[in-house]
Point group: D2
Chain length 301, copies 4
């Protein structure tokens, strides 16, 4: 993580503040507020503001005048019910704002989630820092042979070193030329010079969304099929979410993250198997790929 | 306003709470937090949560590590610049949540603003209160003769009394039958019985949006062409917004609420008039209606 | 259905048109284009325009220069893959526009789907027709005893007749007064008079959405837990969707409509049961309600 | 523009198709359908599908059963009224789909418009073509001295040649290494290798939006303050939009593109000036920057 001492000082100053409010607060999240959680080699994610807590979900579902909560057990039951039956609007009543530093190619995946508010550091207006992502050697993987958009086995050490060398060299060189173009001698417009940077250059943004859409993001991006470089951000955010709304988080883990959806045909297979019938891919009505996914979901090989 | 003593007690309990937070707080809004501001005969609007303040706009625009603020004057200048040039994303970084009680026909206009989160009191799940809107006599206006969707002069007192009598009688009667249908003797499903209610029955909801979309809502609904019954809600919300983000609010008043947009042709007329040329509707290239709007904007008759 | 002969003539005129286009067309949907499919006692749904077909999904997924299709089998496989793995954006590339006539209380549920474009008939601007929904006797059901937002058994015939009488009488009376208020003698503004109408009054709108969001709407509203009065619209739209994009529709039926999602705990139960272990609600870790839902999903009682 | 002969053939095949439809068609747009309009050195924009025409706007505003149009003059008047008074929903009833090839740094600006559907060519799944943007010499401008996010005067020829040399060399080299990483010898996963590409590499996508949101995009991106590299796309799209919906386009030009918004204070100045009063920046209440913008809008210097 590349926080300058000036940035660290700014963060410390924000953390030192203490205000009195009538709004609900979440002690576990306050504890982590503004702190930068390191992700990848120079990135981070930090919570810079939040609104609402588990009770706000309950309160909205009941359209109540006060805090809307009853016994803890009833509240948890209601939250689980809402999650299980896809009642998404009460979860939209909680909001969270992150400050994220991330490689541009990750930002390009991330921005596809449209139901969020974003302010990105502007390379038209300012000069980007000299920070670029270089994968750790254990992340230098081959193209997967059976998944057109995935990774396979790790490259051998010698090739890894060579490729990392190329990545570093190209990033250094293009950034150097970027600086040259912006220098006094040339003075090229920033909005043009930036085009010479590579996609592993770090950018940063403020990203704000509601709890429902955050869960949607996390379900897709904390998934094992998500690209590693975005998954690590999602994993850091999962922990922050758990600190913020522990009951909603638990329901999310049970009904989304750890859940499995069976198609009509797959459900049919389950029923037959439970009835003691032997089912094979050939008799299942499923394609080979679906059968493999089905079997994996059942924990079989 | 029809707050039961139980509801009032719930609100007081919420107001009595005091928490410590690292988040920015706004004393002027905290003062009003949870309080129900009366609107129409039985409605209200109240702020139940908020996130961010004027500085959050500045902070997002600067993608800063700390509070992001500099001298007060610079901050205000930046906010005005952002508003003037339609940089909407920094204003999206503030969020506010209202609890509103409003007639169903107003709710139907309101819900057309899609960029918001809503939880409405469910008449499938619960029984609606016996509250319905009856206009004050000075609001009992004739259909406008020159605006197909507006009001003209006020009805005379005798007719007003008669019409108010019909409105009251029909609302009472349909609500009475609604109760009968729900009673033990019949026991009709709530999701069916509700269809007998009139459109002036009050409903309520939690409504949450960001500052940019709130401004958009307020510009359209606090406008003199908006229907009176939604405009009074917008006006109450304008005051709450001023308490929350005074600098953004001021910029909004100057660049949106009090601003005027001249079409290419209208701008042409202004230029000619400033050059001392006489311009009439006939020579303006504007339709009669446009000319009237143009003249009104210039404060002429 | 209450189409006036004038409206029927307009529809016939639109159906008689024939144009030449380079755009893909779908013969099965063209056949039904503009036709009003009756729903409930006076409602309808009709397709008034569409864009794209199954191939457009494939084309977008492949970002192709031409039609993007290969062998039919490959195309269907791709569509099924996209649906199974929640790749929603290719389905967003198809768009459809409906004209719907529906009771106001149904419209209020429907409008909660925000990712759509809507133009509703304006009761500020025009006078609503005298059409209101009266349920068929077999739909006059009691409040469910085990589901707070559902229906139970049908009312007995005598009570049904009495309640239908009340619904009819109240709708007739309030509409009559609505007409009086709008009449020459009073001339109340339309935007005010409308508040006297009951929630079963029919309104109508143009509603346009993309295929992904249409599927989302249909999954929730064609579900057995949806209120009957909106479900019948969803069912009519399912048929039109099948005519439009048969391959996508089939994948939707398999992976969404007929699919079931098991929570982490439910999946655990399935695994144990397949391993021959006896699992009861008590040992399952599921609540009674979840266990009932789980058992129902497996087709057991 | 870099269309391979294979791509050109695909386009020709699509253009050769001719179907019969009951849907409204627009001959002027059909004429251009599928054709790639060149933009920048290797980019293009082409319309691949559309839905609706000027009459669809009218039809939706009137919620009509047939085509909804009356006399041409009335229709145009209605469209102008809707545009002038910000009635946006009828314009949402028209939809258009573009296929665009554009540099990644332009795509990153473009994607900030969230109310659109996008399918981008996937560099996880496929290999990006060797196409990168090099500005024409007359676009090689210095950083503006008075606008932190704009361009000033053009660089001198010698420096331009040197900078273009750097841009070309860096793009060639990083692309070459990208190919090496993907080659048999290394076989790095595509999702990793892509990070070595520079931001001027071309990508492509399908981009679909409705007419209201298209106008919003065009107003911001065809504006003289927009970066040149995105403005040229907007300008090409303006022409296609004119072919598609000529009446809406004309209203858009008058009430948006050529319009000017005066703040409350600016309007005050106009009124004073029209009354013959001398107004200077000092007496205007406007900041220096605002005064300059105000004067420019009035065509003064």
């Amino acid at each position: 993580m590349s926080l300058s001492s000036e940035q660290q000082t700014e963060i410390e100053a924000a953390r030192a503040a203490s205000h009195t409010t009538r709004r609900p607060t979440v002690a576990e999240l306050e504890e982590q507020l503004f702190n930068a959680v390191p992700v990848l080699d120079h990135g981070f994610v930090r919570v810079v503001d939040y609104m609402g807590d588990d009770s706000a979900v309950v309160q909205a579902a009941r359209v109540s005048y006060g805090r809307g909560t009853r016994r803890a057990l009833e509240d948890e039951g209601l939250i689980r019910y809402l999650m299980r039956h896809y009642h998404s609007t009460p979860f939209e009543m909680c909001e969270i704002k992150f400050h994220v530093k991330l490689p541009i190619f990750v930002a390009r995946q991330w921005i596809r989630h449209r139901t969020a508010n974003v302010n990105e550091y502007s390379a038209r207006y300012s000069i980007l820092d000299k920070d670029f992502y270089l994968p750790a050697p254990e992340q230098m993987a081959k193209q997967s042979t059976d998944n057109r958009q995935g990774r396979g086995e790790v490259l051998d050490a010698e090739i890894t070193a060579r490729v990392l060398g190329l990545l570093r060299q190209d990033a250094e060189q293009t950034y150097g030329h970027y600086e040259d173009m912006l220098g006094d001698e040339v003075g090229l417009a920033r909005e043009l010079a930036r085009m010479n940077l590579t996609l592993n250059t770090y950018t940063q943004w403020y990203w704000k969304t509601d709890l429902h859409n955050l869960f949607h993001f996390l379900r897709l991006r904390a998934d094992s099929h998500a690209q590693y470089e975005i998954r690590v951000y999602a994993e850091a955010m999962l922990k922050l979410t758990e600190a913020w709304v522990p009951l909603s988080y638990k329901a999310f883990c049970d009904y989304r993250l750890g859940a499995v959806t069976f198609s009509a045909k797959m459900l049919d297979c389950v029923k037959k198997m439970l009835a003691g019938e032997a089912v094979t891919q050939e008799t299942s009505g499923l394609s080979k790929r679906e059968w493999a996914e089905f079997y994996a979901a059942l924990g079989r090989v």
